[in-house]
Symmetry: C2
Subunit: 897 residues, 2 copies
């Protein structure tokens, strides 16, 4: 089995198709090389070598020869020799997994600098300062990435070898009275390097290796090992990347952007990743190494005018500074987009006026950008509609549904300060100054904004827990910006006016001081920052043409119907605007909580007999009728699935003494009598108690009232020329006889209303399938019912025996221990709950081929679940109004997959 | 379709095989007629006519002609004519369903007496008093059974037409100064009949019909209609008799046991129904109609010396009084038993020295009698073993397991009074004087004894609710005795010393007065009654040879293994004595409730971290080890299935302030801190919460401790030469990864103990299948597990979404409304839960053909469920020790069915 793949000077052994084997970076370096794009020569060691190495801690005996041979090819292209005293080749060793995991694994640069090769390189480059600067970088990286890890040392935060070296560096700069690294003399750097080696030997009990080969293999081992590093594992858990993929290692000839004024380094996107505009967009730093851009320590220059931010108002563009190079880059941009047919994220280095491409990969983008790019690429005939639909992830669509700040209020609010708008949308929250704090506040249910000078991969858990992220440093490609954009999270970076004191847990900006817990509002779309809270407002998607066009494409492909869960005419209208084709779940109980109704509801619940109960129930009729009138009208002529009363009665009972007293007075009974009645209604497991159709069976008068309200409302609407389509849903049915009991009540009331109004009302009676028993006996229930709607929330609860309210005590242990891959309430458990759903569909349709089948649990808005429901043969999914567009897209994708 | 089946003088159109069509009584009258046994001629109108009549309120046009034709045949045999003035035929109209429903439907006797036929009958019989006595009985029955019901009157208790007529009867007797009915003169009876007819017309707005044909059809209609009478429906619900069977109607020539001294009536059993002895047993009344015996108003005479009770010590036997008739009856007894091959319950009437058989049916018997008869009939080669096994119902076996009074204590307790031992076993309870009272006290959780002068079908619900029944009147075949025996309930009847005042709710006996709520103890096996409570003791089945022989027969036929659910060495031993072949469920949590352990348990629960938790857990180790030592030893060499900790933790927490304080002190934390910790552990739905293997996954140290205790105990036993077979069961598994997580802990501890002790311990690790998801993914779980044990309690809860603790609020409505046929926690729901069990078995075995599968829920002791489990392919059932013999029998029956 071949383990090493060479690329260089127009020839490559791999290609973009070999991502699984060569990782994304390696495959694309090969591909670019073949395309004739200038790429420093190098080779890729496969992911398979990684997997084997991590299992056995050994390489196959043939690997060494393969590496040597590939290295020779590099040497011959570069006219240099690795470890050679006269004309030494330096190489970089970089990770590269199948899927990009930015900053999660290790990199070592400048490998090959030893006491033997340094003089040769100084002679060749004529730049002693540059060589010792490269050497100190190598020592720092190698000590941190290779040696400390290999020694098994897991230092406390801030006390690692890297920090020790950097502290020494800072003290030298102070002693030499310089501020920028570049101001240190060659001599000072030379001494610094000697001191670095001493510090390394003292702290890690081993000397920094003075052998090029040892440096190379140490770096390769370290990169492979970093696949199982803590932060990489954590990132893969969040991103659901399989842990057995492994990473490839890319060994590549070094090119230097930091060898003088005609050198530079930069990153760019072939289109704007923040808004999707079809314009070249990027940042560069003159006389710098690539890591300087990504680390966000210096505010980078804009690539062109189009890329200029307020931050960089005075900095020169590459376009202006090196117009020829910029032109070459622009050509490469076009070639890459036409080749890959997607927006590319590229890294380049300019060494002595020569352009080298170090990386191309599909660029991450936020939601609005993803939608715009997909639609515009179809318009430009770059891709077809299917590709466009598959290219926008449902999460990205979710992102553009995210609320933005209320513009009117924002206008009137003074801007506290400004930063780079790295993640769009608005957010407010209480500020915290550490990732741990962010996570623990989040767990307490608070909305937090993480404020940092800059973020690092160690902060990922806290970033995840935050509503938004704000950093004082870094650009649009800094760690914070990349991570936040990936998650569609509101983010502002490079807000240089911020003075953050982590130890005091406070920040000061323009004379204002904010402490931990103070509120801040971020506009991630324009970079404005406000003190306090500004209310959020949904974006008006009607004005977003790209969104609208994508939805039209989706509707053209999907076969699954999309309904919404809505309990009010307002929600119904909102959902229609988003494209809902009916209501899949209208929960009638929400209507009972309004102040003018709750008292009648309570009277009904504590009634001792049918007569008292009827007296109370009848008070609810006009309210319910009014509710149904509004909702049936708002959705007409689409169907509205109305679920009859479902929750356990105690949910409606007053909890505090005051309300109990009030109810007792209104009922004209003693406080004690009422309390004992409430006590009586207590249930050990209300989820499995007196609820759902069990209520309607015990108290048929409730079902009668609700049916009457529905049919009266429908009759009135028909008289007014509106076309209502009520579909009455009996909840929590476990046996067909429960269903027929309730259906016969509904049918009788329908008959009565139709007879007295002389109006024929079209309606269906169906049931929610939300108990395992309903699935197992769906053949019986299907014979009697006109539709099924899977209630996968309750079905998940009963199938797993998990109470959603109580799962918090053990679910974290389950997710951590990989006992569950994900929360089954978020994405349907295909293997267990899914098998029951399939069984229910099969049995139901076997009894009644005309049976209409939908799903109205939370899973109805989850893309992975929608894929499953399509596969299971459902007719429609129903989800919350704001998930409707996502469901439309996911349904189209389900057809295309 | 033929609707009327004639029988008479050795010829019958039906036979015993036609029970479904002719009802039990009709089919047996036909069979007896064909056997040449003297049966008054008559005919049976089929159950099918009943079903049609109840649906359409009409008969098919041909029915009338069929009835007339059959009536002619009867007339020609009897030499009488129905409605004829000179020589009138009188007939009875009786119900007769497929299955006997004693006293639940209507009967009308003496039909055909009219102003036209009375003179003729007086002339023929020469007994005017007899004729008017028959007439007043006809009027009473007809007014009550036919006219009042037809008028749609539902009188308050005690205010019906029957009571009005009886009150008038009593007032006439008082006026005439006579006590016995028979002392009234013909003249007085004649006037009485005229008054009766006036009272009927006044109260029911219609005259008593003076036409024989109208009387006949009115009675036929009334009997058919009585199938849907309230008490008949109630009885069928309890006895699970389908409501669509309908009843047949038997019209039969009247014979009279009340025409003088050479007349009599009686009922008898071919063997003793109370103890099973192979001896003719019965009661008779000279000069009486059959209803007098059944009503229990007079203490009946013994049939023979063998049937004599203390009550009847001076009454003459039929054997002594009419030896020739007795001899004929004895021959019929033998013929019937040889023919039917089962004990028969017969009714006879002697009219002027001639014996007529009115009924034969398979006799009801109590448990001990059923077992003895079945075994003795095999010994006598009357039936084979299979028949014997199928003839004893599991309920009857249950009955003989019922506790009896503690003999030693009973000996020392003075007898309050004595009655007829109508239902064996002992019972104590608080006395109540009405059926409604009995039911409502029972619902409050009290143990009651219903005390009545006599019982009637209206009392059935109260009898059902009572631990025992005591009546002042009636014999062994009275209503109370029949019903109680059918249910295997403790019952004493004919306790004539009791003076009951229903209005005062008190009874006085031998100078003692007892009020409602006072305690009474009954010995239903000898008829002794005691004031207060005498403790109960299990019967020693070892001395019951018939029981032992039946069990040997059962073990010879069954293939299903029988284990027991036991948590202590005592229970284990008890179950072994009953024949258990292992423990299917040993609940370890019960062990934690003992005072010396609960504190350590609580410390463990409120621990904040693993270290604290380990400190507490380790205190439990020696206790658990000791427990397992005892139980593994008691069951050796049979397997013991030990379930790891299962219940939600809050079950172990202190509830009252005092105990919380104590715990806080022992933990050295503040009361508030402990309270908030307890508050934290509260769950909305603990049944679906942090329990089962979720505990062991969150807190592996618990699993470790339990496994260590098991293996240490097993190792010690092996050293002592005992053969322990622990089977460790992981509870509440929903995913295979939960199982493998816990199994790997158990296996690791096993390895450790085996290594340190150098002893090889045989053990299995399996899981409880008690969640729908476990059934749906049993193929995955089956691959990893060595055994499955279905936990059908929890599986029923989650499949139905029913909390067993909360079902009380709606289950009654479900049972009443026929939405559920039975409580699914008592007998397994084959259609829903059963399908999941089958799926689990199939999937489990498909992955692992060697998988051992059992069931350890409450259903393991339920005969109908055992039948299902056998069918589903399980290897064993496990039930509580006292259900083991029942399970052995039910398992044998499952093979034979």
């Amino acid at each position: 089995m071949k383990s090493v793949y060479f690329f260089g000077e127009g020839n490559a052994e791999g290609s973009a198709k070999d991502k699984n084997l060569l990782g994304g970076k390696g495959a694309n370096l090969a591909e670019m090389t073949t395309l004739g794009i200038p790429v420093p020569p190098g080779f890729t060691i496969t992911t398979q070598v990684c997997t084997e190495y991590l299992q056995s801690s050994n390489y196959s005996p043939s690997l060494d020869a393969e590496v040597v041979s590939a290295l020779h090819s590099v040497e011959s292209i570069m006219g240099q020799k690795f470890g050679d005293a006269d004309n030494p080749l330096l190489v970089s060793v970089r990770s590269g997994a199948r899927k990009s995991m930015p900053g999660m694994m290790e990199t070592v640069l400048n490998i090959g600098l030893t006491s033997a090769t340094i003089p040769g390189l100084i002679a060749k480059s004529g730049d002693e300062r540059f060589v010792y600067d490269a050497y100190r970088r190598l020592i720092t990286m190698y000590a941190d990435v290779v040696m400390e890890k290999a020694a098994g040392i897991d230092p406390e935060p801030g006390k690692g070898i890297r920090e020790k070296l950097e502290n020494h560096f800072d003290s030298v700069k102070e002693k030499e009275d310089v501020t920028a690294d570049t101001d240190l003399s060659a001599k000072a750097l030379k001494i610094l390097c000697e001191n670095f080696k001493k510090i390394v030997a003292e702290n890690l009990g081993k000397s920094f290796p003075d052998d090029a080969g040892e440096q190379l293999w140490g770096s390769i081992n370290a990169v492979f090992s970093s696949w199982n590093g803590k932060r990489a594992v954590h990132y893969r858990n969040i991103e659901k990347i399989p842990h057995d993929w492994g990473t490839a290692v890319n060994v590549q000839a070094m090119v230097f952007g930091n060898m003088g004024a005609n050198c530079a380094t930069g990153v760019a996107f072939t289109r704007n990743p923040a808004n999707g505009e079809n314009a070249f967009y990027g940042e560069w730093l003159p006389n710098a190494q690539g890591e300087d851009v990504v680390a966000g320590l210096r505010t980078p220059n804009p690539l062109n005018e189009n890329s200029r931010s307020d931050e960089a108002s005075t900095l020169s563009t590459l376009d202006g500074t090196m117009p020829e190079i910029y032109k070459e880059l622009l050509q490469i941009r076009t070639r890459l987009e036409n080749h890959y047919k997607d927006m590319q994220d590229i890294e380049f280095t300019i060494q002595h006026g020569r352009l080298w491409m170090l990386q191309t990969r599909t660029g991450k983008r936020n939601g609005p950008a993803a939608v715009r790019m997909a639609v515009e690429m179809v318009e430009n005939h770059l891709i077809d509609e299917e590709t466009a639909l598959l290219r926008v992830s449902p999460d990205q669509l979710d992102e553009i549904m995210h609320p933005a700040l209320d513009v009117e209020i924002e206008k009137q609010t003074p801007v506290l300060t400004k930063g780079l708008p790295a993640g769009p949308g608005g957010a407010f929250g209480q500020i915290v100054f550490s990732a741990d704090e962010a996570e623990s506040w989040y767990k307490e249910g608070r909305t937090v904004i993480l404020v940092r000078n800059e973020t690092s991969p160690e902060d990922v858990h806290g970033m995840f827990a935050s509503a938004a992220i704000l950093t004082a440093r870094g650009g649009m490609t800094s760690h914070a910006a990349l991570v936040a954009r990936g998650w569609g999270k509101c983010c502002i970076v490079g807000c240089s006016e911020l003075n953050i004191s982590v130890s005091d847990k406070s920040l000061s900006v323009n004379g204002t001081t904010l402490k931990e817990g103070d509120w801040l509002t971020l506009n991630g779309s324009n970079g404005n920052i406000y003190s306090g809270q500004i209310p959020l407002k949904a974006v008006d998607l009607n004005t977003n043409n790209w969104f609208q066009q994508l939805m039209v494409m989706a509707d053209g492909k999907r076969k699954l119907g999309i309904r919404t869960n809505a309990d009010s005419p307002q929600d119904a209208q909102q959902a229609r605007d988003f494209g809902a084709e009916g209501i899949g779940l209208c929960r009638t109980e929400h209507m009972f909580f309004e102040p003018d109704r709750i008292m009648a509801m309570r009277e009904m619940i504590v009634a001792h007999n049918e007569k008292e109960r009827r007296q109370a129930v009848i008070k609810l009729l006009p309210h319910q009728q009014n509710d149904f009138y509004g909702i049936l009208k708002a959705m007409s002529p689409h169907p509205v699935t109305i679920r009859l009363l479902d929750p356990p009665l105690h949910e409606f009972l007053p909890q505090d003494e005051e309300q109990i007293k009030e109810l007792a007075e209104s009922l004209n009974i003693t406080l004690d009598a009422l309390k004992s009645r409430i006590e009586n209604l207590h249930e050990s497991n209300p989820m499995l108690g007196h609820r759902g159709c069990r209520l309607g069976i015990s108290f048929p008068e409730i079902t009668e009232m609700q049916a009457e309200a529905i049919f009266n409302a429908a009759a009135t609407l028909i008289q007014e020329g509106v076309k209502p389509h009520p579909e009455i849903m009996i909840p929590l049915v476990g046996t067909v006889s429960e269903f027929t009991h309730q259906k016969s009540i509904v049918d009788a009331i329908a008959k009565k209303v139709q007879k007295s109004t002389h109006i024929e009302i079209p309606y269906l009676v169906g049931t929610m399938i939300e108990l395992p028993r309903a699935c197992m006996t769906a053949d019986h229930i299907g014979k009697a019912a006109q539709f099924f709607s899977f209630g996968t929330n309750d079905l998940t609860q009963t199938t797993y025996g998990f109470s959603r309210d109580d799962i918090g005590s053990f679910l974290p242990h389950y997710l951590q221990g990989n006992i569950l891959a994900s929360d089954p309430f978020q994405s349907i458990d295909v293997e267990g709950v899914g098998r029951l759903v399939k069984l229910g569909v099969e049995k139901g349709r076997s009894a009644n081929p005309e049976l209409k089948i939908g799903i109205c649990g939370e899973h109805g808005g989850d893309p992975a679940s929608i894929q499953f429901f399509k596969h299971a043969g459902l007719d429609y999914v129903s989800c919350s109004p704001f998930r409707v567009p996502i469901a439309r897209l996911a349904a189209a994708q389900a057809e295309l997959n």
